[in-house]
Symmetry: C2
């Protein structure tokens, strides 16, 4: 047996595993090139959770003792002659020094998807960014030139941690639409909404705190909450968004610290929370006094049907903290997002932001302010509202023609994503390498879930690929699913994996 | 009957109970002070398990609606008049929800100094930024225009979390000077060195870990380490930098996790670690295998004397993690800094950065790359090296003329700061309001120390004020110290302070 576990020991299981394998590598018992069992199989063999094996292997990989290769599995690495030196002293054992919060952040599935998506021969449906050919580049070029001509010195210095005051004000007006503007004191400018989410987690979550999330949900949020040491309470999403009927029991029994929701054109599922559920969610949050984080990058990108009020709009008691970004309606490169919420929260987030990065690039803030103040952003969003639904419909049409019987999918009335499911129990993680071979990538739904659920789901982005690419990408995707089905017909892949020899 | 149960309902019994009691409290049906039935009795009355009642009461108690008192049983609580509104519902008690890490970050002394410094009638010697009239604005304007003209789409998208690859490479070359460039794999681009420091703290420090710091040291570092829950072990700084002779004892007895040092033209003291001490510091760090964070924003701003190698240059074993920024030699607004260190550390920091803010503005990264690649930064730094010592000497001369007998100060061979000390036991925190009245601000030394030391020290910046302002500022400062001394002559201020009645 590779490893003997002592369940009475105070040493965590993953450490027992990594220590024993390390020992056997050092003694030469497991020479370079030896194949280690796949994570899933070793987990089954030892009767532990798969993440325990993942963690143990990651330890060993970080020490350079083992290596993972797609298609070859995990093998014992060649010893590095540089890692110890002639003086008998050792380099710093970095891996032993890293905090445990940073252990949770490396999703190999996403890393593989990102690598595949960046290949020039691959059409990426995995990425979630707006169409680059629609970026208003000449406008930005003119604005930056103007800014440096007139306000150069001030716009290259530090600016208040809370944000450039005119931008806070303009964002408050933008959020309100025709209504009463949100007070600038209730707005914090952040380096993308990812930073807003991070600051909220650091400010509101202690390790062990519970957070209600949607399942599936934005994977960047999962990473932030996990890094904060929070425990996650998933509530399933259906076509009308989070199943709010399941919320009260959780609120009453588990006393979560936060509710995190993407009510509009949710990432990844495209679902939108119905008005009735919005009201009930807010009622419950108020009754149990649990703050709601409303993550809302997409709601202005509605392509049909009536506009729904945001939770922040509906909230009259300061229960909702609102989060949005320019990354989905303009471009991500400026790293500008914002948080709106009660002033005590904004103040506390600003204290935290001060230690995280002091402030956000004032030149980029000025440019976004100018886009808002002069009405350019409104016009730009209107353009997107006419172009994106056309791409979505192209993709739906291509799915109809190529993927009927292979996939099920929805038809979102806004946002960036179509949510799909492989039929017949096929797994997206098995599809990814096959799809890569056919020149297309998708976002694996599993990464948007906790506890390895959703393994047959996938997210398809229709804003980044061009109209030509959309047809081609769906064709390739369908072909790769076909191919995966045939491969399974000639022998189950999981059976293959199980046939790897045990050492 | 207090409660009616519906046993067909999907709502758990305890929730039915707590909801109905809550409702009757809100409607005034059960006024404050009303005694509720003992748990055992209510359980018997309703025919439910006693734990159901315990759970229901606990819910209500957690909401502040009921209170348990030994000997008095359970009663309806007095409503808190501040936290309820006309609807009888309550707002979120934000202050109770914030994590303790965010408690440590608000230094009122620094807040006051910042506010005073931003007054238009005040000349700030408190701020630590480069001279705005030297910013190469037209150069930046041309570069951004060029960038958007040629590479607009790519430079407005996301970029790798580790940084824009050509910039990583250019920074590696910049650091090495004439020597062998640092491998780009060992460089991480961050949003200012403050973010680098933050990521390092999050990645390497668990609450309770010990960090060796210099006393005094950069206050942003103190905030970062405190927010990480670290305990700080200060070592005094003299004119040759950290007193390394005191280090070994700390390393051996206390086993710190990190050593944090600013070896060159230290902020705030201006002190520079001697070559001999650099070698000894590194020897000790290697021997005890404690990583060293070298924070080095200022070393290229040397105005006289021979250049010293950085700790990173001297280190042959990967013990040093190097941190620097463009904020002090270019301008702070682009928010570009970098970390150099062993690749496992860079990788781990990148994982952390991914959850903190995904990536850093690629357009700003491109502009900094162009400045480096085309030699502009080298020329710009040469300009600063001829202008700043002139300002320093002006300030030294003004101090000589106006502040002799009031202050002691040093003469730093580089950097941004003169470090000074009030004589006769005067305290900087008492001076600040007086100085503000005279129209000048300084950085209080106390904020750069732990445990309230250094209360008579102050930091004087000579790069931000113009040559005219320098003479004027020192004159005002001297006058305010004179005024403070006279005030003390007519009665000790601390005695006054102690006599203030507590209300």
């Amino acid at each position: 047996m590779l490893v003997e576990l002592d369940r009475e020991s105070s040493l965590p299981l993953y450490l027992q595993i990594s220590n024993q394998i390390r020992e056997r590598i050092h003694t030469g018992d497991l020479p370079a090139g030896t194949k280690l069992p796949p994570e899933r199989r070793l987990a089954a063999m030892l009767g532990v959770n798969r993440t325990t094996i993942v963690t143990a292997y990651r330890e060993l990989a970080a020490d350079g003792l083992i290596e993972g290769h797609v298609g070859r599995g995990t093998v014992v690495a060649d010893p590095d002659p540089d890692s110890s030196d002639a003086h008998g002293l050792h380099q710093i054992p970095w891996n032993q020094l890293f905090t445990s919060t940073t252990e949770v952040m490396n999703d190999p599935l996403i890393r593989d998807t990102t690598m595949i998506s960046s290949r020039p021969d691959v059409i990426s449906l995995a990425t979630g960014i707006p169409s680059p050919e629609l970026y208003p580049i000449e406008l930005i070029r003119g604005l930056l030139d103007e800014a440096l001509h007139h306000g150069g010195q001030a716009l290259l210095q530090h600016c208040p941690t809370e944000g450039y005051e005119p931008l806070r004000s303009a964002l408050g007006t933008w959020m309100a639409g025709e209504g009463r503007p949100v007070d600038p004191e209730n707005v914090l400018v952040v380096a993308g909404s990812q930073q807003g989410l991070y600051l909220l987690a650091r400010t509101l979550l202690d390790p062990g705190d519970l957070v209600v999330i949607e399942s599936p949900t934005y994977l960047g949020a999962l990473q932030v909450f996990r890094a904060a040491g929070a425990r996650l309470l998933p509530i399933p999403v259906d076509s009308a968004g989070m199943r709010v009927g399941m919320l009260e029991d959780l609120l009453a029994r588990r006393r979560p610290k936060l509710i995190y929701t993407l009510p509009s054109f949710q990432n990844p599922s495209g679902a939108t929370l119905s008005l009735d559920r919005r009201r009930r969610l807010l009622d419950l949050a108020e009754r149990y006094r649990v703050p709601v984080i409303e993550d809302d990058p997409y709601s202005v990108l509605r392509y049909e049907g009536p506009t729904l009020p945001t939770l922040y709009d509906l909230d009259s008691r300061g229960t909702v903290i609102y989060l949005s970004t320019l990354s989905k309606i303009l471009f991500p490169g400026f790293r500008i997002g914002w948080v709106a919420g009660p002033n005590p929260v904004i103040k506390r987030l600003a204290l935290m932001k001060q230690i995280v990065d002091l402030d956000t690039n004032p030149l980029a803030q000025w440019a976004v302010w100018a886009l808002l103040d002069r009405g350019h952003l409104r016009t730009h969003v209107a353009d997107l509202q006419s172009i994106y639904p056309y791409r979505r419909d192209l993709m739906l049409d291509a799915l109809e023609r190529h993927a009927t019987g292979l996939l099920e999918w929805n038809r979102p009335p806004g946002g960036f994503y179509i949510w799909a499911k492989l039929l017949d129990g096929l797994r997206t993680r098995d599809l990814l390498p096959e799809a890569a071979r056919y020149g297309v990538s998708v976002a694996p739904g599993e990464s948007f879930h906790v506890d390895g659920e959703g393994d047959s789901t996938l997210r398809l982005n229709f804003t980044l690929p061009t109209t030509d690419e959309i047809e081609q990408a769906i064709y390739r995707l369908a072909a790769s699913i076909d191919s995966l089905r045939s491969a399974r017909g000639s022998g189950d892949m999981r059976a293959l994996e199980a046939a790897t020899p045990i050492v």
